[in-house]
Structure formats: C-alpha cells, structure tokens
Amino acid sequence: MTFLSRLRFRDAGTLLGLILIGAVFAIMAPTFLTGPNLLNVLQQSSINACIALGMTLVIISGGIDLTVGPVAALSAVLAATMMVAGVPVPLALLGAVCVGLACGALSAALIAIGGLQPFIVTLGGLSLFRAVALIFTGGQPIFGLPEGFRAVTNGNILSIPNPVLIVAVFAILAWIILNKTPLGEYFMAVGGNPEAARIAGVPVIMTKFAAYMISGLMAAVAAMILIGRLGAAEPTMGTLWELDAIAASAIGGASLMGGRGSILGTLIGCIILGTLRNGLTLLNVQAFYQLLATGIIIIVAMLIDKATSKQE
C-alpha cells in the first residue's frame, strides 16, 4: 500500500481514468485485455511518451515546444544519411542526439536570452526545422538502414519491446530530474513564478536551456525508435507529434501556465491516448471517430481537473 499512499492525488486520478477506459474496452473487445495486446499498446505509446517526457519538463518550466516533430524528422534524416553512408551506428546516433540538443538550444536562446515568447519561437522553429529536413533530403525518404540498428528497436527483452524499455529508462531519469534534483526544483520555480525565481537566485537562463535541450534530445530518441521500426527516415515524419505530447502532458496534470506537472501523470496520459486508439481500432471504429474520442477525452480530463483541483 505504500505505493498507493505515496501516489499523488492528481496522478491517482489519471490512473483511475486509464483503468476506467481500459475496463470499458475489456468488456467490449475480448482481445483487448491480453498480454500481447497490452504490450502493443505500450509499444504504440512509446514514441509519444518519449516526446511527452521532454514536453512535460518544458511545460513545467513555463514554456511550450512545438518544434518536436520537425526536430525528430531532422535528426532522423541526418542519422539515416550517416548510417546509409556507412558511418558506425553509435556515431550516427550521436549525430541525431546533437541535432536534437542543438535545435533545443536554438529555441532556448531565442526564448531565454532573446526574451521572445515560447509559443511564437517554437512555431517558427516548427516550419524552420521541417524546411531544413526537406531541403537536406530533397523531400525524399532515406531507405536501407542497417539491420543491426533495426534489430535494437525491433527487438525485445523478456518479451517486452525494446522501445518500451528505452522509454522506461528515460522516464525514470526524467522523474529523478524533476523530483530529486535542483534542476527539477528550478523547472517548477521558473514555471511557477519566473521573477521570484530570478530574485531567489535561480539560474533562469540555464534552466530554460536545460528544458528545451532535453525536449530536443527526447525528440531525437523518439526519431531513432521510429526509423528503426520503419527501416527508413522520412523528412515529413513527426507531423502533429507536438499536439499528442501536449495532450498527454495536460491529461497527466501539467499546467500550461507552468509550475506544475508530473512525469508519472504524463506517462499515464500517453497510455490513455494509446489505449483509446488501440481499443477503438479493435472495435473497428473509423479513424474519424478515434479523433473525436481523443478530443473528448482531453476536454473531459481538463474539466475533471478543474472540478477537483479546488479541493486539493
């Protein structure tokens, strides 16, 4: 019971939402509640979870990162080009990571030093990074990724898909950063009240750089998982990823005003979105209605949030 008693009120609420949605599907679709299908849900949620982990930290620090999809595409096409050209895989991965960090640093510089608004800066970045990816590839997908690399992202350990394990490792790291390190406190302080944080000696600029660079890094990680699975990198990949990630963070309790959010909540938020898609697909519901359900879930989650947050 210690786990349950330590579970924060808000996270417990998100978990309850997941259980309810899961229960409905379990009743309606007999194949939903089976081991392979549940692992499938986790695997399908893993890319969004990757992105959402970084997004949650950015949102907590009072920002937003709309560039994640294009940043993922850019690091994907760079890493794929390097691999196809025969560069060793670890070096190509390092290249992808550097692209993610550099894109994050660019957004952070404009926001933290230039004093521009995060929404506008990353909206600009959204077009800019996508354009660079398209120009770099001439709009063509890059095929022929090495089998050795693909084996890592398509493999599994003890029948748990590797992408799920990769996300789990990053989630634990993100949780530690947010809850156990000064940087995590700085995220919450800068997002909660930037001026008070500055006066209290919080390194505000460094904190914002950390948030956007982690978000860029997570976009690169998500890109690697996806190109490993597909065996190709497309410059158009990652379209609308930012919206799924923001939705998962919000369902999980992150406040878009900054200062509040939860890693565990975000993960559950990702699984809720994944479950919804998986369950509705099992029930042969048309994609249009899946979109409808996603929209309704996001709004309902926010309404419940509003109604219960006063009592906390």
Binding site: E185, I199, G201, V202
Partner: protein, 495 residues
C-alpha cells in the same frame, strides 16, 4: 433609524475548517467603521461575503433594515455595497472613464453601442469632488495609486453604493495622500455613505473611525468606540496577548560590510552612496516613488545599474544578476511578495532552499530530509503558523509567507539583508515577530537595510536612516536626529 448594515450571526466554513463563528457587524449610516484583526482573523472572509465573492453558510445580512441576499459581486453591487480592494482591480489599458463604467457601460443606439462621451462626462462629474485633475480619457495605467483609488471610489459612487468597504486603502499611499483620503472619506460620510475601513495601521484607524469591530480567529471579540479606547487595549484585544513594549538596541559595529558608490539608474536612482556596517540596521525612508525600491533592486542585482558599484567586504561585485549577488552574501526580501517572492504551489521547504540548493544537494540529488529538518529548525525559530513546512507556501498568510522568505536567506547564510517594506500587509502580531527577527540578525553581526513607508517602523528598527527624495539620498539621520519631523522634512520635494 435602522442601521445601514447589519450582519447577524454569520458563519462560514471551508471544508471542515470553520473560519467565521457567528460573527455580527453593525454599521450606522455615515459611520466609518473599522474592521480589525490579525491576518487570518476572518476580515477578508467577511469582506468577501459582503462583496459577493463568497457565500455565507448561515446568518443574515440587512441593509437599512431590509434583509438582502448576496450571491454574486453583481448582487452585492445592486444591494449598494462596493469594495475597494488593496490590490486595485482595474484594467490598466482602459481609460479612467471606461474603468468607472466597467461592467455597467452606458449604452446608446438601443443598447448596441457604448456611449463613451456620456461616460466621460459622467465620470468627470463623479471625480470632480474627489480630484478634478484626473483626466478621464487617460489610460488608468498612467495614474498614481492614490489617484487610481479615487477612481475606484468614483466607480462605487457611480454604482450608488451606500456602503464602501476599503481593504488596507493606504498600503501604497504617502502621508499627504492619506490626508487627502481622510478628506474624501469625510465628504462621503457627510452624504450618508458608510465606510468599512480595514487597516493594520492603528494611527489611521484612530484618525478616521468612529467605531471598530475586532475579530480574532473568526470570532467577534469586541465592538469598541474608537476615540475612547486606548490604542494598546485595541491591539491587545486583536492579538489576544500583551505585546512587549520594546525599545531600540543598536548592535552596529565599526566593520564596514558593504559600500555603495555612486549607484545610478536613469532618474529613479541618482548617485547613491553609503556604507553599511556589520550589525547595523539602516532604514531607508522617503515618499513612494523616491527610488527606495529601485535602489534595493540595484544593490541586489535584480536591475542593472547605469553606473556605480557595490562592494562587499572590499571586493567590487560584478554586474551579473541576482545569483552572483546572492553568492556574495546579499539577499532581497521583496515588497511584492506574491509577484517577486514566493513560488506559490511549491512547499515552504523548497521556497526556503531555492537560493542555496547546493547546501542541500549531494551527488546531484536534493537531500529532502536535510532540507526539511533545516526548514523546520528555521521556521520554529520564527514561529511559522501553521507549523507545516510541506504545505504550499501559497496557503499561508502574508506574515507567514514573509517568515519563509526571510528563512530562505537564513538558510543561505546571507550576510546582508535587504528588506523592502517587510511588514506590508502583515498583521500586528507577526509584525512584532519580524522586528524581533531583524534585531536578532543585527545582534548576530549581519547587516540590514530596511525600506519602509511606515515612519514608526523605520524609527523603531533603524540605527541610521537614509532619507530619499526624487532618486537621491537627501539626508542621513542617526541617533536622536531620527524623528518623524526630520524624515518628513527631508523626504518632501522642495517646490
């Protein structure tokens, strides 16, 4: 004649916590009625019930003998109650006239269009007896706080308010602006308007009120006629204990801790130079806008100076923001606690630990237990109420938030404390605790600057007083020269 306002046996609970225990309030027509009590005594809850922000659980409200039901700010306004908040609730970009008619615009063309000309003419008429110099077509952001307050009063008159509740109306006013407000209040009461006056400043309460209702812990303790009751008795009734009468002890040494040389920024601060010694408390007095807050912000690195230097123990500090200044041993306790001080949703512990996270970190991880133990130790010393350092700081009263913000610098081993209006919006009991804390810091050899608009406060805590006028230090007073008369004479611009 029926009383103007009669609250009988009003009760209110938040969840399981009862905040008003059958409180009653009786205000006569044309009376200025003080509502007194420490923070948390229930004054704000009462005002919120009167102005329709909160609804009461039980009890009755009568105006001029007729029972009224107040369910929303609009119904309160219709019942003739207006509220002037401490933090004025105005839209800065709108004009004076638009603010006066906010929520009740004058219409024309069958209600489709706002009749701005009529609004402006009417606003001008309402403001004429209050301050004819206010331009009703100017945006409200350009006005001084005192003028904005008069605009709020005009708005109350526009709504035909018979009861105006003023919450800490003088917290940002200069003494001469207060005198002006006294005249305005006299004018209102002469027309039969009743005023509910909430303030922590006893001299003001005794100046303007005829009667006062004293609350403590959500209970009605007494209703007293004001001029006839001794100040000390009123305070004792509020606090529920006798406050020790204190005299000032100086702990100043000859060791110079900080030197400020020619610090300037625009017109706000010009060529400010002074020394601060270990164990010394230097007060900075002056009118609002004299550059006191700006000077503290320059010293603490929050704003960049155009020229001039700050030296701590002989070393010139670089121009590099608050973080570097904190490392050099300075700490600012800002005036606007909500805006510049607290991280509302975070617990007291992390609000305390924020500047000195390295002291509570090992191997990259925060040692939460150590932080909590240190926070509890510090907060026990300053008597944090309620004593729970894990609660979000936003759930504490102003005085207790202030204790946590001061605790933040104690935890960081700060040597030089810069207090900006340390007791603004803080009740009498917590005030005394903060004075004691300042004296204790001085006794321990730290150096302290206190900016304050309350002269009794400056005089009480300071070893030396710098008076600022229009951005410059106009006088340095020490010992027996520290008197209200000397401070005021040097603070007022020669015109």
């Amino acid at each position: 004649m029926a009383p103007r306002l009669s609250l009988t046996h009003v009760e209110k609970s938040f969840g399981a916590r009862k905040v008003l225990h059958g409180v009653s309030l009786l205000v006569q027509p044309g009376e200025v009625h003080g509502l007194l009590g420490e923070n948390g005594a229930g004054k704000s809850t009462m005002l919120n019930i009167l102005s329709g922000v909160l609804s009461k659980d039980s009890g009755t409200i009568e105006i001029d003998g007729k029972p009224v039901t107040i369910t929303s700010p609009r119904s309160a306004s219709e019942a003739g109650i207006a509220m002037i908040h401490q933090e004025l609730q105005q839209v800065p970009e709108l004009t004076v006239a638009q603010n006066i008619y906010l929520g009740g615009a004058l219409r024309m063309a069958g209600g489709l269009l706002v009749d701005r000309a009529a609004q402006e003419a009417e606003a001008k008429r309402l403001l004429a007896p209050l301050d004819p110099n206010i331009d009703v077509t100017a945006p409200i952001r350009g006005l001084r706080v005192a003028q904005r307050q008069l605009v709020e009063i005009a708005k109350a008159l526009r709504a035909k308010a018979r009861i105006i509740a003023m919450d800490e109306p003088t917290s940002s006013l200069t003494p001469s602006e207060f005198e002006k407000l006294v005249t305005v209040i006299a004018g209102l009461t002469a027309q039969g308007v009743s005023i509910i006056y909430v303030s922590h400043k006893m001299d003001e309460v005794f100046r303007v009120c005829q009667n006062a209702t004293i609350l403590r812990d959500g209970k009605l303790i007494a209703q007293v006629p004001i001029p006839q009751t001794p100040v000390a008795q009123v305070i004792e009734t509020m606090v529920g204990r006798e406050l020790a009468h204190v005299t000032h002890h100086s702990h100043a040494t000859s060791r110079v801790m900080m030197q400020v040389n020619g610090l300037s920024r625009g017109k706000a601060v010009q060529d400010a130079s002074f020394d601060l010694h270990a164990g010394e408390v230097v007060g900075i007095a002056g009118l609002v806008g004299a550059g006191r807050t700006e000077l503290l912000r320059l010293i603490s690195g929050v704003d960049r100076a155009d020229s001039g230097t700050v030296e701590v123990e002989g070393a010139v500090l670089p121009q590099a923001g608050p973080r570097a200044r904190i490392k050099a041993g300075l700490g600012l306790v800002p005036e606007e606690r909500k805006r510049d001080g607290i991280i509302r949703h975070r617990p007291v512990t992390t609000n305390i630990g924020l500047p000195a996270m390295n002291k509570f970190t090992q191997g990259g991880l925060i040692q939460k237990r150590k932080l909590k133990a240190r926070s509890e130790e510090l907060m026990k010393e300053v008597n944090l109420r309620p004593f729970d350092v894990s609660k979000p700081i936003g759930s504490f009263s102003g005085g207790n938030q202030q204790k946590a913000i001061i605790g933040r610098w104690l935890a960081a081993d700060t040597k030089i404390y810069l207090f900006d209006e340390p007791t603004r919006g803080i009740d009498v009991g917590a005030k005394a605790e903060i004075y004691d804390l300042i004296e204790k810091l001085a006794r321990e050899g730290r150096a302290i600057i206190v900016v304050s608009s309350e002269l009794p406060e400056v005089i009480r805590v300071s070893d030396r007083v710098l008076v600022m006028r229009e951005g410059r230090i106009s006088a340095t007073l020490s010992g027996p020269d520290i008197t209200e008369a000397n401070i005021v004479r040097n603070a007022i611009p020669a015109s």
